[in-house]
């Protein structure tokens, strides 16, 4: 084993690994802490991949449950997040491929209430905003969503990890089971496609994008 890479040493470096080792050893509060620590990132990534908040939570939950079920087998090798996202990657790819085979519903089910109160609802949520600004943001989000959905599953995973988890090519390679070179090709194709799809909208972003934690408006 390379120097400095025993479990103990890795645990010293990485607080996440320390936490996971406690989960492995059945520390009663550790798993809860793990969930709290990673839920935002996992749900976020899943949401970006799948476009559905419900599915995102279901899958994120599955990731955690798998982690728990396999806790006894855990040995720290690299960053904990890499391991987590490897599991997440597998589950997400399966879900995305399953979706293709099933009847596909629109990814964001545009809400219309039981009595067809759709239009009223969306305007109600935007009542307090200048309409033009609100529409622009929603429109933009929709366009970007479509662009993202235009990528194939692996391109999507690569880009989401690249952008939202700020992963370098090596980490992405580890999560996705590719070589760095492979990741480079995958990403270049994905981002080129993204550029083509979104080039016309670059100048729509007059307002800064919403910060995490702001309430979602009727998405």
């Amino acid at each position: 084993m390379p120097i400095g890479h025993t479990s103990a040493q890795m645990a010293l470096r990485d607080p996440d690994i320390r936490l996971m080792l406690r989960v492995r050893d059945d520390d009663s509060t550790a798993f809860g802490e793990l969930v709290e620590r990673f839920q935002h990132r996992l749900v976020g990534v899943m949401h970006h991949l799948l476009g559905s908040a419900d599915e995102a939570e279901d899958l994120a939950q599955e990731v955690f449950l798998r982690v728990y079920r396999n806790r006894k087998k855990y040995t720290p090798k690299a960053k904990l997040s890499t391991w987590l996202f490897t599991i997440a990657n597998n589950l997400a790819l399966n879900a995305l491929r399953d979706r293709k085979r099933r009847l596909v519903l629109p990814l964001e089910i545009r809400e219309s209430g039981p009595l067809g109160t759709g239009p009223q609802e969306s305007t109600a949520s935007t009542r307090d905003q200048p309409p033009a600004h609100q529409l622009q943001q929603q429109e933009l989000a929709g366009i970007i969503r479509k662009a993202l959905d235009g990528l194939n599953e692996r391109q999507r995973v690569a880009i989401v990890l690249n952008k939202f988890e700020d992963m370098n090519y090596t980490d992405i390679a580890e999560v996705m089971g590719l070589t760095s070179k492979g990741v480079k090709s995958l990403l270049s194709r994905a981002r080129a496609k993204l550029r083509e799809a979104l080039q016309g909208y670059i100048y729509m972003d007059v307002e800064p994008p919403p910060q995490p934690g702001e309430a979602d408006e009727g998405e």
């Binding site: 798993f31 969930v35 839920q39 935002h40 749900v43 976020g44 949401h47 970006h48 908040a53 939570e57 279901d58 994120a60 955690f64 449950l65 798998r66 728990y68 079920r69 399966n94 089910i109 809400e111 209430g113 039981p114 009595l115 609802e121 949520s125 943001q137 969503r145 993202l148 194939n152 599953e153 692996r154 880009i159 939202f164 370098n168 090519y169 089971g177 590719l178 070589t179 070179k181 492979g182 480079k184 090709s185 995958l186 990403l187 270049s188 981002r191 080129a192 993204l194 550029r195 909208y201 670059i202 972003d205 994008p209 919403p210 995490p212 934690g213 309430a215 979602d216 408006e217 009727g218």
Partner: protein, 590 residues
Amino acid sequence: MRDDPLQTPDDDESTRIDPFEAELIAYLDGELEPSAARKIEVRLAADPEARAKANALKKTFGLLDYLPKPEPSPTFASRTLERLPIPSPSSAASKAQQPSPSSPSQSANSHTVASSSAFPTSISGSSVPLALPVGNSRWGWAAGMLVAVSLCSAVGYLVASAGYQHLISSKGTGPAPGEDISASDPALVERLPLYAAVDDMDFINELATSEFFGDEPTVSIESVIKPPVLEHEGLSATAFSKLAAAFKALPIERQENIRDLDKQVRSLDAPTREQRIRVLETYIRWLNKLPESDHKRVLMADTSRRRLDEIRKILNQQWIDGLPPARRAKLNGLPAAGQVELIRQWRDEETTQRDEWAFHRNHAEDILANRTPWPFDNPARQKEVIEFMRGAFRIDDEKRCRFEEPERSRYIASLSLATEQGGWMAWYAYGKLAYSMVKKYEKYLLPEPAVGDPVTKYEQLGTKAERWFEKGKGRTLTANLVGKWPDFALAVQNYAGTEKLEKVVLPLLGASRPYDFKEPLRTFVLKDLMSVLVASDRKTLEGMEGRWPEYPYALVRLARQHDLSLPGMMLPGSPKRWDSMYGFSPRTRP
């Protein structure tokens, strides 16, 4: 490990990759070796197109920040923790419990695996499952039976049975306490699953209300097509003996309690009994699917009332959890009071819709036969309704029509469709539209006086009153309503009321005595309505004469009470029937 995604079958070959762009992207990500990075920098400095491309790449990548960033729901963490297999109290039991790798597609609702993993699967020995807190009588009250139920799929048996008659035997008075019921009353054993988690008859009756399981489709939909009654197979021998053993293991009081309950259920009239049985089946299935902690909480409640409270809480939470993401997002954005209100509104809408479906189901035959719904099935009545709408809302007069666009066009289109096409759907849609329009504009359906012009202008108010409407609030509230009946008069009356002007200043603004009305309303009020009113109502009405618009509104109220329709003011035909056919209002909450 796949090396080059360019080779993968799921990758599209349509976009040929530009090697410079690929390098550029890696450069922007800081992933290039220093020498390669320098080459890119040189190119960027020299080539404006390259710079533009780099900018486009950067910006489009940055646009991803505009994707929504939903927070995990507040219950995410707790729900995740609840799905873990339960750590067992005794080491003996823990050996029997390996965390079983379940399939990734296990949804949050399939907890039969999780909950029964708490109980070892062999009951050959003692009848008390090992993992249970020992000596907890509350737990023992229900769990033993529920175990037997879930293991034997006894509920499934009940669900699969075509009818319930064979379950309800009226023979015999039941065995004596302590007697082996498996021999003396086998039918009771078969019904045991129903009572596994039930306190008493009141409890069952509560569960049968719409607040709990009364509105569930499995309860409220009576099968239109009755399945053929199969040769009654009954429970398997194992299931039967397990249930009987579980029953015997219960404390004597509980056994008595169940026998009593069974007697009461059996003595219900057939439709109620069948509904109650459906309720209980639904309840048990629901109970078995709950996450362990919820399941426990329901069973461990020490009174019937508390048990119902727990059930209600869980049902409410499930309802909220079941909301589509957009609705949940909306809810989360509100403060607590607003949330409660919104939930109430949505639940009312749901109830309304369910009532509609029930209605349509009940009229299924008529719908299938494409009959014309009441009141349009009678040509004379049909005409009356259309005439009423035309007159009351001035449909033909584009300028003075009560309906604004697009309401007016909608109305006209609906009527055309009904008269041209006929049949249930078209007429029902028209009826609904007419009903809702009348409801919406109820307060404007005030009759014009028999003598003189209706009050629609300032000059008609008399000099004393005119002063108050020359300027200020009086003016602004009424100016744009001039010429409109009864809008102008209502606004005047309203304003005068707030300023307490009436007695001093205003003339009578509208018809408020029987003799003020035109025919046929006049005769209808004097004869048809008066003859059905009780003395006290008649007196009240007489006391309101001269007050406008209170008098005509009171007429409508009283007419409705006695299921009469005032000509020119209400839809022709029985108001009650209109309400039941076309009006689905939210049920009144207790």
